[in-house]
């Protein structure tokens, strides 16, 4: 694909460059963006100093959604905390639960049965697909393309409905338990002593849905990727060099778009990803366009993983044997997971009781957003939207 060089914003021929260079005084002006703006995915305020169309410095103001989950976790039992952590990154609620529960399991010394781990893995990947499909709908919309939203949200709805059929919740599943997963919704009465499991037809429906997700990715690819306007707005914009990203703790698709082949699904073992064949999506330029391309590829790879997991899901119990009142032994543990937004981890400190002594929640969006002042410096005001959208953060994940 070739891009019209005159549309390259770094080139001197760029339209906005021309407007800056006319003989006008453009003294520093403070431009307030947000806190309410659709492209901020929550409530984010940017205080930008601009010289004409160019940003000289920007100060993100966060904390509008700070709910204090770390403090709240210090007065709740482990089972109650899973209901909280759902709400950190609400577009992939299920994925937030897994590292927390695995952290508690490691301290307790239990491991979920294989079937429970497969169910966790399937639902985590479905959460990734639904999160990235939100990106696929909102990002082109912010750039000015409304149609992809219809395609992406239709598939996302299908995925969410399937997740709901298992967990009982579209956004906040609260489905993981220490030692396994909850007996599935729709699988029968919770009081009868029959084996509670995935609802009938779930595996077949999910398999079909995953094939359709891959189809819709082809559609999105055809609609958006080669679009000249989309490329003009994203190629070469908001470049995060790999070393800068690592230094700031940028993780997930944002880091892989900068050429770093690092994926905790390959490098860590919080779920049995080593049993599946999938590729890590990596791009080289680290610009907005590459971040989009990486996410599109990740949807396809996630669908691949889900299909393999459905084919290979073992039978067996959903719960390991755990005490009725769970007291976690003394100790400290950090479990991180490759969430749709980046590395999410819980540093869990237990003093042997029913409630943790300290829970530090490391979220992907927080570190991804911390690179913003550096990233926006020197860019153009219209590019703010393209850059913000491409980082794919959620303010609930930033503020916690």
């Amino acid at each position: 694909m070739t891009i019209n060089p005159t549309l390259d914003p770094t080139s001197a021929l760029h339209l906005s460059e021309a407007s800056v260079s006319v003989e006008l005084e453009t003294p520093d002006m403070t431009l307030n963006i947000g806190p309410q703006h659709p492209s901020t995915h929550g409530v984010l305020r940017l205080v930008a100093k601009v010289d004409g169309e160019r940003i000289t410095s920007v100060e993100p103001v966060i904390g509008y959604m700070h709910r204090g989950y770390e403090k709240l976790s210090e007065v709740r039992t482990y089972a109650q905390i899973t209901a909280l952590v759902n709400r950190i990154d609400w577009v992939s609620g299920f994925a937030n639960e897994v590292p927390f529960i695995v952290a508690a399991e490691r301290l307790l010394g239990v491991e979920a049965p294989e079937r429970a781990q497969y169910i966790r893995l399937i639902l985590t990947e479905m959460a990734r697909i639904s999160s990235h499909l939100i990106f696929m709908s909102s990002y082109p919309l912010e750039i000015g393309a409304a149609t992809p939203l219809m395609h992406a949200l239709r598939e996302r709805e299908r995925v969410l409905e399937l997740m709901e059929s298992v967990t009982g919740g579209r956004f906040h599943p609260n489905f993981n338990r220490i030692g396994g997963v909850k007996p599935a919704a729709g699988a029968g009465s919770a009081t009868r002593k029959i084996v509670q499991d995935l609802p009938a037809g779930f595996l077949a429906d999910t398999r079909k849905a995953m094939e359709e997700v891959v189809d819709v990715c082809d559609d999105l690819n055809a609609l958006v990727t080669g679009n000249e306007i989309f490329q003009a707005r994203t190629v070469g914009i908001g470049v995060i060099p790999a070393d800068k990203g690592i230094d700031f703790g940028v993780s997930g698709p944002n880091l892989r778009a900068s050429g770093i082949d690092f994926d905790l699904r390959k490098h860590d073992d919080y779920l049995p990803y080593d049993q599946f064949d999938f590729d890590v999506a990596v791009a080289q330029n680290g610009d907005c366009f590459d971040r989009y391309v990486v996410r599109l590829e990740e949807i396809i790879q996630a669908a691949r993983i889900v299909i393999q997991a459905i084919d290979g899901i073992p039978s067996g119990p959903l719960q390991a044997k755990v005490p009725k009142i769970i007291k976690i032994p003394e100790g400290e543990v950090y479990v991180r997971a490759e969430n749709p937004k980046g590395e999410m981890g819980y540093y869990l400190v237990s003093e042997g009781g029913r409630i943790p002594y300290r829970v530090k929640i490391r979220t992907g969006s927080f570190s991804n957003l911390s690179v913003l002042p550096w990233l926006l410096e020197g860019s153009l005001v219209p590019d703010i939207i393209a850059i913000l959208g491409s980082l794919d953060f959620v303010l609930g994940d930033v503020d916690r």
Binding site: F248, P329, E332
Partner: protein, 243 residues
């Protein structure tokens, strides 16, 4: 497995009871327990998979103690070696900045459960910084102890750019002063906010208003006039919470 003061020594035998307690089965009779204790002894005698790595890192940064329990390689340094240790870690390939935060080890807590043995506890603010590589699964949690009254550390912004926001968060939540930080102001909290919410001495307002779980929060239903019936319902609720 953890070692204090002498990184090169093999783990001591006094680890065994802890290990056994961790691995004790949920429902076990006496004979099974004996077997599991033996297993635990064997496990304690062998170094864990991350012990060698932890000992090596500890030696490199001049640590006073290290541990590698639950695959969490944690290395403790004195506060005056904090920056030096971070630099060493970065130069050894731990270039990825994961997080920086703190733990308030306090004898008395305003909310939540206290530590197991408050009398033996040394009150302190423990600052944690976790860094990792982007090529494999190795990662290090660097830790240092600061006095609770006036915790202060030099800023790590010059070593890891990502430390800037994390230090601001630790500053407002724990009151840790990061000397030399370019902009040490509140991150989440309003500028006029007083107090450090994640300190254990800081009360949680919602708990002040309404203790929970299951303490005195069961009120009689408007139609219930028999107080004894109300008490029974309260007991049932307590059990529900325990589960």
């Amino acid at each position: 497995m953890s070692v204090t003061e002498s990184p090169s020594d093999t783990p001591a035998d006094d680890e065994t009871p802890d290990q056994a307690a961790e691995e004790a089965p949920v429902e076990a009779d006496a004979s099974e327990e004996a077997v599991s204790e033996d297993d635990a002894k064997d496990a304690a005698a062998e170094p864990g998979p991350h012990d060698a790595f932890a000992a090596e890192v500890a030696a490199a940064v001049g640590a006073t103690s290290w541990s590698a329990e639950h695959r969490n390689v944690k290395v403790k340094v004195p506060a005056d070696k904090w920056l030096e240790a971070l630099e060493t870690l970065r130069d050894r390939g731990m270039t990825f900045f994961s997080f920086l935060s703190a733990i308030d080890w306090a004898k008395e807590v305003a909310v939540g459960d206290p530590v197991t043995d408050p009398d033996a506890l040394e009150e302190r603010i423990e600052v944690l910084c976790r860094v990792s590589t982007v090529t494999d699964n190795s990662a290090v949690t660097l830790s240092t102890d600061l006095p609770t009254d006036s915790p202060s550390l030099p800023t790590a912004v010059g070593i890891y750019g990502g430390a800037e926001w994390h230090e601001r968060e630790t500053f407002e939540m724990f009151g840790v002063d990061f000397a030399g930080h370019p902009r040490l102001v509140n991150l989440y909290l309003p500028d006029a906010f007083i107090g450090n919410p994640l300190r254990k001495s800081y009360p949680l307002l919602s708990r002040e208003v309404k203790p929970w779980p299951g303490e005195v929060d069961v009120e009689d239903m408007p139609s219930t006039e028999n107080t004894e019936a109300g008490d029974t319902a309260g007991d049932a609720d307590d059990e529900g919470d325990a589960e």
